[in-house]
C-alpha cells in the first residue's frame, strides 16, 4: 500500500486508534480489546460489540490486522494481531499526532510568552 493510500485513512478515529494500540502490545480476543480500550481511555471510551466488530471487520479488510485461532484456548477462540502493514500505519499516525502536538505546544508557548 502506497503512502498516499495510507494517508487516506488518517486521521484515525479515537476508537480505531485505541483498538490498534491495544493490539500493538500483544494479540487479543474481542473481550480483551474492549476492556483494554476502556482501561487505556480511563473509562471514557466504552465500545459496544457492534462498534468493535465493525472496526475489526474494516481493519481485516484493509489487512491492518489478522485473525487467528488462539492455541491455548480450549474453545478455539479467535484472536487478532497487528500485521506489519498495520504496525507501520499505526507508527505513521502516531508520528502525525506527535508532529501536531509539538507544533501546538510551540504555538501555545509562543503565544503565552
Amino acid at each position: 500500500m502506497s503512502l498516499e493510500a495510507i494517508m487516506e485513512f488518517l486521521p484515525l478515529t479515537e476508537p480505531v486508534l485505541l483498538i490498534l494500540l491495544s493490539l500493538a502490545g500483544q494479540p487479543r480476543h474481542g473481550y480483551s480489546i474492549l476492556k483494554d480500550v476502556e482501561r487505556m481511555s480511563d473509562g471514557r471510551v466504552v465500545l459496544s460489540t457492534g462498534t468493535l466488530y465493525g472496526a475489526l471487520r474494516r481493519l481485516l479488510d484493509e489487512e491492518w490486522i489478522e485473525r487467528f485461532e488462539e492455541q491455548d484456548s480450549s474453545r478455539g477462540r479467535q484472536a487478532y494481531r497487528l500485521t506489519p502493514q498495520g504496525r507501520r500505519n499505526l507508527r505513521l499516525e502516531v508520528g502525525r499526532m506527535k508532529h501536531l502536538t509539538r507544533l501546538a505546544s510551540l504555538r501555545i508557548t509562543g503565544k503565552e510568552a
Partner: protein
C-alpha cells in the same frame, strides 16, 4: 427490565448481512455474554447504559455493514462512546432526532427484508411441520419498547426543561462577549 438477553441480542444480529454474521456472529454473542455477565452486578443506570449502547451499536453497525455491502465508501465506526461532547450551541435534541430517525429507518428496512424472506420460504416443511413466523410479534415488541423509551425521554426532558435544568436557559443567558 433493563437487560438484553443473549437470545434477544442473537435476534438483533439478524439485522446484519448474512456474510458478517457467518464470520463474526458467534464471536459477538460470546463477547456480549461476557460483557453482560460483568454488568449484571452493577446498578440500574450502568445496566441501562449497557443496554442502550449495545442496541445502538448493533443497529449502527448493521447499517454500516449494509452500506458497505451496497458498495458505499467504508466508514470508520465512531459511535457509541460514553460521553456526548456538548458544543457551544445546543445540538443534542437535533442530533438525537436525526439518529433516531436513521435507526427507525434501519429497523423498517430490516422488517421489510424479514417479511420478504418469510414470503420466499415455504411455511410447511416435511421434517418439522408447519412453521409459524414469529418475527412480527417480536418486532412489534421492539416498536413498543422504542415508543415507550421515546415517551419516557420526552417526559424526562420536559421535566428538566420545566426545572430550567435542560441547558437551554443557561445557554440563552450566556453572552458571547467578555463581561
Amino acid at each position: 427490565m433493563f437487560s438484553i438477553s443473549v437470545n434477544i441480542y442473537r435476534q438483533l444480529l439478524l439485522l446484519y448481512p448474512a456474510s458478517h454474521r457467518q464470520v463474526f456472529g458467534e464471536e459477538m454473542i460470546a463477547v456480549f455474554g461476557a460483557m453482560q455477565a460483568e454488568t449484571a452486578s452493577k446498578g440500574v443506570v450502568a445496566r441501562s447504559l449497557f443496554c442502550v449502547r449495545e442496541a445502538a451499536g448493533v443497529v449502527t453497525g448493521a447499517l454500516l455493514e449494509h452500506w458497505r455491502a451496497l458498495g458505499g465508501d467504508p466508514v470508520w465506526p465512531t459511535f457509541p462512546i460514553r460521553r456526548f461532547t456538548m458544543r457551544t450551541e445546543f445540538r443534542f435534541p437535533k442530533a438525537t432526532a436525526v439518529l433516531m430517525t436513521i435507526i427507525l429507518a434501519g429497523v423498517m428496512v430490516a422488517i421489510k427484508q424479514g417479511e420478504a424472506i418469510v414470503a420466499s420460504v415455504p411455511h410447511v416443511s416435511e421434517a418439522v411441520g408447519t412453521i409459524h413466523p414469529v418475527h412480527s410479534v417480536f418486532l412489534g415488541g421492539i416498536m413498543l419498547t422504542l415508543a415507550f423509551f421515546y415517551a419516557v425521554g420526552l417526559i424526562g426532558w420536559a421535566i428538566l426543561f420545566a426545572m430550567r435544568r435542560s441547558g437551554v436557559h443557561r445557554l440563552a443567558e450566556t453572552s458571547a462577549g467578555p463581561k
